[in-house]
């Protein structure tokens, strides 16, 4: 198949695959969904940006084979997907700013991209990324921002029996450290998550370090 022909096939893949009936993405075994993609080779099984068909079929993401999509087990953290925005405030020093994040589920992992407004500290807006791995009802995540630092934590769902994605909620906690060039000290955080809100507190553990609140709402 010539590159041009292959490109032509690629262009039709999303349309063909969108016709397929997608099963509900719930926790459990991978689901094979025919997408009639014969005579098509995929370089990256999970590169759903190149082949969006399986993302559409599976509702989230999926590893694509020659003629079917392997939909990953549905994650109970699907309710995080979307754009969230809110504020952070240090209640000790009365400094605040905006914060926003976008969560998506990629290949069964929770991926986040966020921006925190540190203009009050003369640092402008700092962007960062995060990634979380799901194990049962627990999400273990790490996050980092080049100019600020990073951390890790866990989020455990409560009342998400059977991997239900609607109305799920949970509590989480973790720790981190703000690194160079700011070299802020270590901090801890804890909070709770619902389908529409994320609220939490942070505490720089050094004496005299800041502490405060973060709250986000789903747009």
């Amino acid at each position: 198949m010539t590159p041009r022909a292959r490109a032509l096939v690629r262009s039709w893949i999303p349309i063909v695959c969108l016709v397929a009936v997608a099963p509900p993405a719930i926790a459990g075994e991978p689901v094979e969904v025919p997408v009639f993609c014969d005579d098509f080779e995929l370089a990256d099984a999970c590169d759903w940006t190149a082949v969006p068909s399986c993302a559409a079929v599976c509702g989230v993401s999926g590893s694509c084979n020659v003629d079917y999509c392997d939909c990953p087990p549905g994650t109970p953290f699907g309710f995080l997907e979307g754009h969230w925005s809110g504020t952070w405030e240090d209640t000790i020093y009365e400094v605040s700013g905006a914060v926003e994040a976008t969560f998506s589920i990629v290949c069964g992992q929770v991926v986040a991209a966020g921006v925190i407004d540190l203009s009050d500290l003369g640092l402008g807006s700092q962007s960062g990324t995060g990634i979380g791995t799901v194990a049962g009802d627990t999400l273990s995540f790490t996050f980092e921002a080049a100019m600020v630092g990073g951390g890790s934590g866990t989020l455990t769902l409560a009342g998400a029996a059977g991997g239900a994605q609607i109305g799920a909620s949970g509590t989480g906690s973790g720790s981190g450290s703000v690194t160079a060039p700011l070299s802020f000290g270590p901090f801890t955080f804890s909070g709770s998550v619902t389908a529409t809100t994320i609220t939490g507190t942070f505490d720089f553990t050094n004496p005299g370090g800041g502490e405060g609140d973060v709250s986000l709402a789903k747009d």
Partner: protein, 175 residues
């Protein structure tokens, strides 16, 4: 020997600052923790009605084990001027502090120069130890004057404010 100009002195001072910073980092988890706790008491951090809030106090606060210890360590590093006639930075660049007439400093000049130079560092250190925020305010004001006084070394005599207070000069060995 000739008088050291502003920029060579500035570079030497930068070396001293780097030494002080490294020393502070090494002591941050021990002595730094103590000074940070003293800062909470002295500056009434987190207490109702405290004036110590806003962006700058916040940034100092989150690195409290470093920021509140640094003045003390800097004062110690600068004390080499008193004991040995030159700090590490000055030695590195062949600089020495002398009396205005070129002779070695006597004790009185050494102490006067040191006091004028470290008014901010010792002021803050003593303020934290004594829990007296008013002393910190005075030290800060003195520090601003001392810092501005360093720019006097840009003049033809290459003498900063603390040199004039103590009737000293900084000389550089030729070669």
């Amino acid at each position: 020997m000739c008088r050291a100009g502003f920029w060579i002195r500035a570079v030497a001072a930068s070396v001293d600052a780097a030494v002080a910073f490294v020393g502070t980092l090494l002591l941050a988890s021990s002595l730094g923790f103590f000074f940070a706790e003293r800062a909470v008491v002295t500056l009434r951090i987190g207490q109702p009605g405290t004036w110590w809030k806003g962006p700058v106090p916040m940034m100092l606060g989150v690195v409290s084990t470093v920021s509140y210890l640094l003045p003390f360590v800097a004062a110690v590093v600068w004390s080499l001027d008193v004991w040995g006639g030159a700090t590490l930075g000055k030695r590195l660049f062949g600089l020495r502090v002398r009396s205005a007439d070129g002779r070695p400093m006597d004790v009185s000049r050494r102490l006067r120069r040191y006091a004028a130079r470290t008014v901010f560092a010792w002021g803050w250190t003593l303020a934290l130890l004594a829990g007296a925020w008013t002393l910190a305010v005075v030290a800060t004001a003195g520090g601003v004057v001392a810092m501005a006084g360093c720019l006097m070394a840009l003049g033809p005599e290459s003498r900063a404010l603390h040199d004039r207070v103590a009737s000293t000069i900084v000389v550089r060995r030729r070669g």
